[in-house]
């Protein structure tokens, strides 16, 4: 599945991934392949991405929103450190 992490200043990350864990408002949750469509606001925290080759990438975000739909994830973050 595909993910895009976008801030107002730039596109931080884009790529094919296996899974992503995000700090949801009601607690952290993980998105795997064929996840149900969801829109959730995010707290400040860390986003963990597992890439296709099992490499782990992480970003510290300062709040945001995530939209998951048919294996396409868009993560709008206000700032990424």
């Amino acid at each position: 599945m595909k993910i895009e992490i976008i801030t107002p200043d730039r596109k931080v990350y884009e790529g094919e991934i296996k899974s992503v864990r995000v700090p949801g408002k009601k607690g952290s949750f993980q998105v795997l392949k064929d996840h149900a469509p969801i829109i959730s606001t995010l707290e400040s925290g860390t986003v963990y991405i597992v890439e296709q080759d099992n490499k782990e990438v992480q970003f510290d975000i300062d709040g945001g929103v995530i939209e998951v739909r048919s294996n396409k994830i868009i993560l709008l973050a206000e700032a990424v450190k």
Partner: protein, 293 residues
């Protein structure tokens, strides 16, 4: 006819002016391109946010999305945010904004102004200086913002303004800035920043998938509204910054053209004067020789 030396000095000085204006034109063009890139990069974020917000608020009744930013009251205390530039030499860019600000105060907020309830937030030194000279009340200035326009800095300022609104320091916040149409055309824009008008937006209404909402629709909308406000603010400042460089580029282009024209005229004048001087000298020599015969 002016004497040769004076004309020569003028030609030199116009030439050096032309060099400066054409250099400034190049600088403005480079800055313009960089700033335009920033706007392009902002677009995906702004569009997505807008899309989510529109889709969500359509599925909610109007009453449910009442929030702190849409408090409707008779505007008593006004804040006008004027976005200008820090530097001059960009044509009518700054004076247009100031003129519009004065018009707005005179036409819409004269009552409040008389009570001293109209305040300004100046972004850009030029607008700040002019407004201060006109004895307007300036709540704050934020000039160093324009040295490097980043979302982080602009959103911090936007937050301050929004907080002022929520706290009741202001009942209405208006934004005045130049919208970038193309390098030669700036469109003066006045928009209401706060309160948020909950206008029912038409258009693409369908949300194809059945989403899970976390925590719930209202909470998401409530969280997204300030975000989209910040984006609106950032967009305005960035837009103005792009327009400023466009205006400066055009102004400097015209100045360079004028200098070239002037040099041509001066050179012509110089040559005419030189020829006249030579003719005069020949005449003197000839008539001197004639007298000796």
């Amino acid at each position: 006819m002016a004497n040769l030396k004076a004309i020569r000095i003028r030609i030199t000085s116009v030439k050096s002016t032309r060099q400066i204006t054409s250099a400034m034109k190049m600088v403005a063009a480079a800055k313009l391109r960089k700033a335009q890139d920033k706007i392009v990069r902002l677009r995906p974020y702004a569009n997505k946010l807008h899309e989510i917000l529109v889709n969500l608020s359509q599925s909610l009744a109007d009453a449910e999305i009442e929030n702190v930013y849409s408090r409707a009251s008779i505007p008593e205390k006004i804040l006008i945010v004027v976005v200008t530039s820090n530097r001059g030499l960009c044509g009518a860019f700054n004076s247009n904004v100031v003129k519009e600000a004065r018009r707005l105060v005179a036409d819409n907020y004269y009552e409040q102004y008389k009570k001293g309830n109209v305040e300004f937030l100046a972004i850009g030194k030029k607008g700040y200086d002019t407004l201060r000279k006109m004895k307007f009340k300036i709540a704050a200035e934020s000039n160093e913002l324009l040295n490097d326009v980043t979302f982080e800095k602009v959103s911090a300022l936007a937050e301050k303004v929004m907080y002022g609104f929520v706290r009741g320091d202001y009942d209405r916040v208006e934004l005045i800035y130049n919208h970038f149409k193309n390098a030669a055309v700036q469109q003066l824009t006045t928009e209401v920043f706060l309160p948020v008008e909950s206008k029912p937006e038409k258009g693409k209404a369908s949300m194809p998938a059945d989403y899970i909402y976390e925590p719930d629709k209202e909470a998401i909308v409530r969280e997204l509204i300030p975000k989209s406000l910040k984006i609106q603010f950032y967009k305005a400042v960035l837009d103005s910054y792009v327009a400023e460089n466009g205006a400066r580029m055009t102004a400097m282009h015209k100045a360079t053209d004028n200098a070239t024209q002037m040099i041509r005229e001066l050179t012509l004048q110089y040559n005419k004067a030189r020829q006249a001087a030579i003719t005069g000298q020949i005449l003197e020599v000839v008539s001197g020789a004639e007298a000796l015969k």
